[in-house]
């Protein structure tokens, strides 16, 4: 019996579908990013999963008496068996990590979102100052904020009894829970990421169609009802995305818990992961890394469920561009003053503190006689040097490290910003399809993976037979950073594209405008501030990243941040403070140059 042959009428729909598929740029982009991300993003995931089930060289091999590489479930048994080991290495740190991540997420959104609302939707005074200065904490490495916190609040009653600025000036001793432990961790991580919430939520609020709120006002809805029923639902995707990003960052934060938790023996999963891997319990370490990814996935799922549930988050329709500002009336100046004081404390004080710390010889002594510029411009080889010859501004190793860090930031920003925008476009235009969901998730996965685990896996890849040409090269840092920081840009891309009504592009299609012109002449200009934040955020991330680079740089002084961490670890606080200040100045310079060249900046896109 002859098999039935597909007739032409059956083939044609398939061909039509295929042709229709490839003629849509969004589909081609999704396929392209699917292939690239499957290799660069999924591969570390697979490697990590494998590591959870295998025996590693060293402690595990000795303990379990099994050959390296053999498959086992013993790591799971050990970590979850319910003993003291399990409690100390998993359950208690899990609880702490969850509290810190959740608290930081809420705090970051509360602070960043509130300030974003005041700046974009009210007639608040001094917006330009508030908008420009509030982003400073995000430019600093998180652990430097932790150092600032201890410099400020440490006192003779806690820790090592070292006197901080508050006790020194006001004679006030803050209690231990305020200086060390979960509370300062939440505050520091929340403050560090609040500018991020400010940027993402503010971008949406700024572009929100005012007629939506005006309609509610006409219908006599109260101000609170408008915020609750109109404003918040519109910014909800950005709030959820921001919460997800802060939660994941807080959950995998390593340096902040080390600096603020060690004194009171308060450990998180990331500190335990590092300790376990270091002691040779790699399998258990990777299980912990997987747990943090799993939690991130759950929040990602909630986020996708929410954004999928709503038909549209369109705020840019082309119908109205007017923004009506809420009048704060008598409360205006008091609110402005409170915000300025708060922002000065979290954004300006750390800079003053770093500047002071970089010019004093003896810690805690701020008298003029104790000050020196040696750590900046000193030329003699003194007792303070650490392989560095005197001041950082006169040191060639330091300038080379600056050059590499800036170049890396710019290259990564270019790659990541462009990819993020294209992923955002493709995912939004094909929203609801399996392919779109998969690419969006793949682009986000690296963010959920702790930077240290990510670096370890890429080290193994770069030293394997086929990729050894990559090891120790600048290209490796570019690849790793681009993959790790793509989530920022892809989130930013998705959020901005979600706001643009498809009718705008469809109108251009009807007029036969080619795809690249639609992108460059219509979509990009409409969402310029939001898209440019996708370019600028990786610049900041690269400029302050450490954990990702530690294993991949050829030596500690290769990058500015690895050098900074080395200074902080070896106790050269003055050099460390000077380099921190330098990093912030470089980021501000890049921000300002971008502003001059494109008219956009971290803050200007929102309210400055």
């Amino acid at each position: 019996m002859r098999k039935p042959q597909p007739n032409s009428s059956m083939r044609e729909p398939l061909l039509y579908r295929l042709r229709a598929f490839v003629t849509k740029p969004a589909n081609l982009l999704l396929v392209f990013f699917l292939c690239v991300l499957a290799v660069l993003s999924l591969m570390p995931m697979v490697t990590m999963l494998t590591n959870m089930f295998t025996i590693h060289l060293g402690t595990e091999k000795r303990l379990y008496r099994m050959p390296t590489g053999s498959w086992t479930l013993v790591h799971f048994q050990k970590l979850f068996e319910g003993s003291d080991w399990s409690r100390v290495n998993f359950w208690e740190p899990l609880k702490h990590s969850f509290i810190v991540a959740f608290g930081a997420g809420i705090l970051g959104i509360a602070i960043g979102g509130s300030i974003a609302w005041f700046v974009t939707r009210s007639d608040l005074k001094c917006k330009k100052f508030i908008s420009s200065v509030f982003v400073f904490p995000y430019m600093m490495p998180a652990w430097t904020l932790a150092l600032f916190w201890t410099n400020m609040f440490q006192n003779s009653q806690v820790g090592g009894g070292n006197i901080g600025m508050i006790e020194s000036i006001f004679g006030v001793c803050m209690p231990e829970w305020f200086v060390y432990g979960l509370f300062p961790m939440i505050v520091v991580i929340g403050l560090h990421y609040s500018p991020f919430a400010y940027l993402l939520i503010g971008g949406i609020l700024k572009n929100m169609d005012a007629t939506l709120e005006e309609s509610a006002t006409i219908l006599k809805a109260s101000r609170w009802t408008i915020i609750r029923r109109v404003t918040i639902p519109i910014v909800m995707p950005a709030i959820l995305s921001t919460f997800l990003l802060i939660f994941s960052s807080g959950f995998s934060s390593y340096t902040v818990p080390v600096f603020l938790g060690s004194a009171v023996k308060c450990y998180t999963l990331s500190t335990k992961m590092r300790a376990l891997i270091q002691a040779g319990y790699q399998g258990q370490g990777y299980i912990i890394a997987f747990v943090s990814i799993l939690l991130g996935c759950i929040i990602l799922g909630i986020n996708q469920w929410f954004t999928g549930k709503r038909k549209s988050f369109t705020t840019v329709t082309g119908k109205s561009g007017q923004v009506s500002l809420v009048k704060l009336r008598k409360a205006n100046w008091p609110i402005t003053i409170v915000l300025i004081v708060f922002i000065c404390f979290v954004a300006i004080m750390p800079l003053i503190s770093f500047a002071l710390e970089s010019v004093i010889r003896q810690p805690g002594n701020y008298s003029l006689s104790n000050m020196t510029l040696h750590f900046w411009i000193g030329t003699e080889d003194s007792a303070y040097e650490t392989g560095m010859i005197a001041g950082i501004l006169l040191n060639t190793t330091m300038w080379k490290a600056v050059g590499r860090q800036v170049l890396l930031a710019l290259v990564v920003a270019l790659i990541v910003g462009t990819s993020g925008m294209l992923i955002g476009y493709a995912c939004v235009r094909r929203r609801g399809t399996r392919l779109s969901r998969f690419v969006e998730s793949l682009a986000f996965f690296p963010y959920l993976m702790p930077a240290m685990a990510f670096g370890t896996i890429y080290l193994a890849v770069a030293t394997s037979e086929n990729f050894k040409w990559l090891y120790g090269t600048f290209a490796l840092l570019v690849i790793v950073s681009a993959v790790k920081f793509l989530p920022f840009a892809s989130r930013s891309g998705v959020n901005s594209m979600l706001q643009i009504a498809p009718e705008i592009e469809e109108a251009a299609i009807i007029f036969g405008v080619p795809w690249h012109k639609r992108m460059l002449r219509i979509l990009f200009p409409i969402q310029k501030s939001s898209i440019l934040s996708g370019y600028l955020l990786p610049v900041i991330s690269v400029m302050r990243e450490v954990a990702l680079f530690t294993l991949l740089v050829p030596y500690a002084r290769y990058m500015l941040t690895t050098m900074l961490f080395s200074f902080n670890e070896t106790g050269y606080a003055q050099y460390g403070s000077a380099v921190t200040l330098l990093i912030i100045l470089i980021i501000m310079l890049i921000n300002s140059l971008t502003n001059k060249l494109t008219g956009a900046s971290f803050d200007k896109g929102i309210g400055g």
């Binding site: 060289l57 060293g58 402690t59 000795r62 303990l63 003291d84 080991w85 100390v88 290495n89 003779s156 820790g159 090592g160 009894g161 070292n162 060390y180 080390v258 600096f259 060690s262 004194a263 023996k265 450990y267 590092r274 300790a275 270091q278 002691a279 040779g280 010889r361 003896q362 810690p363 805690g364 002594n365 007792a383 650490t386 392989g387 370890t456 080290l459 193994a460 770069a462 030293t463 394997s464 037979e465 050894k468 040409w469 090891y471 120790g472 530690t550 294993l551 050829p554 030596y555 500690a556 002084r557 080395s566 902080n568 670890e569 070896t570 106790g571 050269y572 606080a573």
Partner: protein, 389 residues
């Protein structure tokens, strides 16, 4: 034709031997180097450099860079490239790079934490040990394989703002009055600290702790909740320990400028990073009075040669140099600082440094024994890790 075939066969054999025996040739070269004079080694090293080699050496101690600079000044035709690596990442980087063929991987490494050196590098055949014949008489045998180029000590040091703390017995550190006043780097993050605690469980140190217990409490230690006296000490000590400071340098500076009476167990050499104005606030317990039990601990820095180095003779010459007076006590090198001790008995600490020679510390400090730690790591690590919190 026969001659041609024979020649071809010999060439093929020679080629196959060259390809398959590079690891052996490094070991052979190191074995040969051990018997050579420095002049002979220099000639061999120059030939390696002429063939395009350079010695990439990885180290966790910044003093090694100064030693390398001094070495290049002494042997101007040799090129050393120093790469500083973090202690925590050392073995991850070395196990991934040695033998992988990546550019500029380590030719030799100066590392701490002997048990990991043994497990990750030596037992896996990734690195070889080397020790020169000429120094065997002046360096104790236990310091030769793997070669120890320097010892570093961590000592009990306190803030003397309230006068002497009167520490005469280590068991005092487990008592309530020292709660949160003993500063120590978290042993699960600091390998040499965990090695020190594991060493306390060795029969020798367990016995010393039992004796100190008897002396402090007037009765012999008895087995109860804990299997050994050392485990009870570790439990009590860790209950009192404060982990505020995350590096030895910060601990030194922090205790010097912090609350009087605080005690730290940290690297002695870090006192050089304490501002001079604060340095007089610190007292080294051992210099004040002997302590029953111990006054601190001593850990080594080992030198090993990578299995795929293309300059084994240069590595050998550099190790010889580090073990010599010229290398160890050269300008701004280890010997110029407190807390570094050459295993070479002919090298003494300079006068006026407020330090003591290596021999002085042998009875009062807990020395790292890589074999013991390697054999008992797992059981004691888990005991400690669950108590760190």
């Amino acid at each position: 034709m026969k001659r041609f075939l024979s020649l071809l066969l010999v060439l093929a054999m020679a080629l196959s031997m060259t390809v398959s025996a590079s690891a052996d040739s490094v070991q052979d070269a190191l074995a040969a180097a051990a018997a050579m004079t420095n002049e002979e080694l220099y000639e061999k090293a120059k030939a390696e450099m002429a063939a395009g080699a350079q010695l990439n050496f990885y180290s966790t101690t910044s003093f090694a860079e100064k030693a390398a600079n001094n070495f290049m000044a002494a042997y101007p035709e040799l090129k050393l490239v120093y790469a500083e690596i973090d202690d925590v990442e050392t073995y991850t980087i070395l196990t991934n790079t040695i033998g992988s063929g990546v550019k500029d991987s380590a030719d030799m490494a100066l590392t701490q934490n002997g048990p990991d050196l043994k497990t990750y590098l030596l037992d896996e055949g990734l690195a070889y040990t080397y020790f020169p014949e000429s120094l065997k008489d002046v360096v104790e045998e236990k310091n030769q394989d793997p070669a120890i180029v320097t010892y570093i000590n961590s000592l009990l040091i306190y803030h003397n703002g309230n006068g002497s703390v009167g520490l005469t017995n280590v068991w005092q550190l487990t008592e309530e009055e020292w709660k949160d006043k003993v500063f120590f780097k978290n042993p699960t993050n600091e390998t040499v600290n965990i090695n020190f605690l594991i060493m306390l469980t060795s029969p020798e140190w367990n016995a010393k702790l039992e004796a100190a217990y008897q002396s402090r409490y007037g009765k012999a230690w008895e087995k109860g909740e804990f299997e050994t006296c050392a485990l009870e000490f570790i439990d009590g000590f860790l209950k009192n320990v404060n982990y505020t400071y995350t590096s030895a340098s910060k601990m030194a500076a922090g205790i010097a400028s912090g609350a009087p009476g605080n005690m730290g167990l940290f690297v002695f050499s870090k006192l050089r990073k304490v501002d001079e104005a604060d340095r007089s606030n610190l007292t080294i317990v051992q210099f004040e009075n002997a302590v029953e039990g111990f006054s601190g601990f001593m850990y080594p820095i080992y030198a090993t040669v990578a299995k795929d180095t293309d300059c084994p003779y240069t590595c050998a010459l550099f190790i010889n140099y580090l073990l010599s007076e010229e290398g160890f006590a050269g300008e701004k090198s280890w010997n110029s600082s407190q807390g570094y001790y050459s295993p070479n008995k002919t090298i003494q600490k300079p006068e006026g440094l407020d330090d003591q020679p290596y021999e002085y510390w042998t009875d009062c400090l807990v020395f790292e024994d890589l074999t013991y730690i390697n054999d008992h790591f797992v059981e004691v690590y888990e005991f400690i890790a669950t108590r760190v919190g």
